[in-house]
């Protein structure tokens, strides 16, 4: 058996699988976007109609704005996670246990998280309003039914779910900084704050960039939690791109239009990734000395 045959045998099954389940369907999503199609046998070519309609569809732009809002908030929350990781990474007893506790929500299914937070937010019996009432707040809000606060109410569980994940990544990166660099800075008289923000944070710059991409792209494709908690409601106040696509395709059975949304989602994710990479590209690479 030649080496080529062995390589083909080892690699081809996976390549074919990822091509047929991930890559080829993406192309088809773009292609289906050219049709008026309810998923049945009736399929009419309509050219760019769906994409034109998309550009004028207020519901789409609203959902895109909500996705962007989540992306922005998730990126901002990275600052909090980074601060916690900085606190955690200074030789502290129990830091290993703490970061493991932080990670627990990340392990749960979005169904479990969504159902749990539906109960947390329950207007009369939820733990949140019960607590607010006990400290004397009157007219406690109905968190998920109020269009003005629903985005925030959905964002809190997201913050909660991913905290441990990003803290873990930052913590691991911070622990990778050679102790000698920190020691040298300390001998030169750098204060703990200087060490944290002028030495540690810049040194893990590359990791921070990766997390920004993860947070932005992750938010743009966010779906499960919102779909289960609010279904995009009330009155589409929490609709995001993925949930809009899903409701168009699998509830209204508008496969053509749903595909055009799905394809736009892909393009937006790729452009966002590229944009962040381009904007944060550093010309000089930081290298650890000694």
């Amino acid at each position: 058996m030649s080496n080529k045959a062995v390589i083909a045998l080892y690699v081809l099954p996976s390549v074919l699988l990822i091509l047929s389940i991930v890559y080829v369907p993406i192309l088809f999503t773009g292609y289906y976007g050219f049709f008026d199609w309810n998923g049945g046998s009736d399929m009419h070519f309509t050219g760019l109609d769906n994409y034109r309609k998309l550009l004028r569809d207020r519901l789409f732009w609203d959902s895109a704005w909500h996705s962007l809002w989540f992306a922005l908030m998730s990126t901002l929350s990275l600052i909090v996670y980074l601060l916690v990781a900085l606190l955690l990474s200074g030789n502290l007893r129990g830091s290993n246990l703490l970061r493991k506790i932080y990670l627990v929500p990340m392990l749960l299914s979005s169904v479990a998280i969504a159902q749990l937070w539906l109960k947390v937010y329950h207007p009369s019996s939820g733990i949140l309003n019960t607590f607010l009432e006990s400290i004397g707040v009157k007219n406690t809000p109905d968190w998920l039914a109020d269009p003005d606060i629903v985005l925030w109410a959905v964002f809190i569980p997201i913050l909660w779910q991913y905290a441990g994940f990003y803290i873990l990544i930052y913590y691991a990166a911070l622990k990778n900084i050679p102790e000698s660099i920190i020691e040298a800075a300390r001998i030169d008289g750098a204060s703990p704050l200087d060490i944290a923000f002028r030495i540690k944070v810049p040194l893990i710059g590359e990791v921070v960039k990766v997390t920004v991409v993860l947070a932005v792209v992750g938010s743009l494709k966010y779906f499960d939690l919102i779909y289960i908690m609010t279904g995009g409601g009330p009155n589409r106040a929490s609709e995001v791109m993925a949930s809009y696509m899903y409701s168009r395709a699998f509830k209204s059975f508008d496969f053509g239009y749903g595909s055009s949304i799905g394809f736009s989602l892909l393009l937006i994710c790729l452009v966002a990734t590229w944009l962040i990479r381009a904007l944060t590209a550093s010309r000089d690479k930081i290298e650890y000395g000694g």
């Binding site: 200074g90 506790i101 299914s109 937070w117 892909l266």
Partner: protein, 297 residues
């Protein structure tokens, strides 16, 4: 004499300085711990509340303070939903789909990572790129064509549609987790094996696979968590109630018994216990796997 006094003054000043800064450090540490422990409490409090209300009946849930213990733990909530809510069926389906997908993914990813790191071939870089970019692609962008594909080949409502999708979408992260480990494997063993006339297959199955057992376990447990928790594919591809997995099954159950909080709590607990248990036993591996799979991309 005067010089001596000066010395003493200097030492005592230094002493005062040092104790005050030591006190500062102590207070700082205290505040630090309070902040960090507060974060930990926020992270687990909703789950503690979930555990408590899964063991109460509605009366206790609505009348007692949220974190109060019930008069007695109502384990019957668990027994009831297990059979009445068909949670047993969903649970078994989840175990099957998860186990088969994890096996397939880890095996395929091992093949690919082995070929990528241990052999020289022309298409190595593009193939690696194919898997790395795959990590960034939102499942919603391929969901409609996948649905159509599975409908055309009659795999809708068949667990195979889930297994294939989970494997394809998890290959990138699994390969990412494995790459670092494979790169670090010493080459001498392989060279010796090849010198002895060992075939590539024997080399892979009898030497490489056993050597990578540890990273395979890490990759498997990460895959297990992802597959166990997956929602969109099940919700889209599986229509019969008897073939649903836990996530969608739980979702249906909650829709039907939306007023019975104890039953809902018990159902949610049953769905998260396997993952929590795995975490309790293998937290180091999970932490390491999540870190390796996210940053090396």
């Amino acid at each position: 004499m005067s010089k001596n006094r000066l010395n003493m003054a200097a030492t005592s000043a230094a002493f005062v300085n040092r104790t005050s800064s030591r006190l500062g450090i102590k207070v700082g540490r205290g505040v630090l711990y309070i902040v960090l422990i507060a974060v930990a409490i926020v992270q687990v409090l909703p789950l503690v509340w979930l555990l408590l209300f899964s063991l109460k009946n509605n009366q206790e849930i609505f009348n007692l303070p949220p974190l109060a213990l019930p008069e007695r733990f109502r384990w019957e909530n668990y027994a009831n939903v297990w059979s009445r809510g068909k949670i047993d069926v969903y649970f078994f389906n989840s175990v099957m789909v998860t186990a088969l997908s994890v096996l397939l993914t880890v095996l395929l990813a091992s093949f690919v990572t082995f070929a990528l790191t241990r052999m020289n071939w022309k298409w190595r870089a593009p193939v690696l790129g194919l898997f790395m970019v795959g990590y960034m692609i939102p499942i919603h962008s391929s969901l409609i064509p996948l649905f159509v594909l599975f409908r055309n080949i009659r795999l809708i409502d068949n667990p195979l549609s889930l297994i294939l999708s989970y494997t394809a979408f998890n290959l990138p992260i699994t390969i990412m987790i494995m790459l670092g480990f494979y790169y670090a494997l010493p080459r001498e063993i392989e060279e010796a094996a090849v010198m002895d006339g060992c075939s590539v297959h024997r080399l892979f199955f009898q030497i490489i696979l056993p050597m990578t057992a540890s990273v395979m376990v890490t990759a498997a447990i990460i895959n297990m968590i992802y597959n166990w928790n997956e929602f969109v594919f099940v919700n889209t591809f599986i229509s019969s109630d008897t073939r649903k997995t836990l996530t969608v099954g739980v979702q249906n159950f909650v829709g039907q018994y939306s007023t019975d909080w104890g039953a809902i709590g018990a159902t949610l607990m049953i769905s998260i216990i396997p993952v929590l248990l795995a975490y309790f036993i293998m937290s180091n591996r999970i932490v390491e796997g999540i870190a390796a799979g996210s940053v090396k991309g």
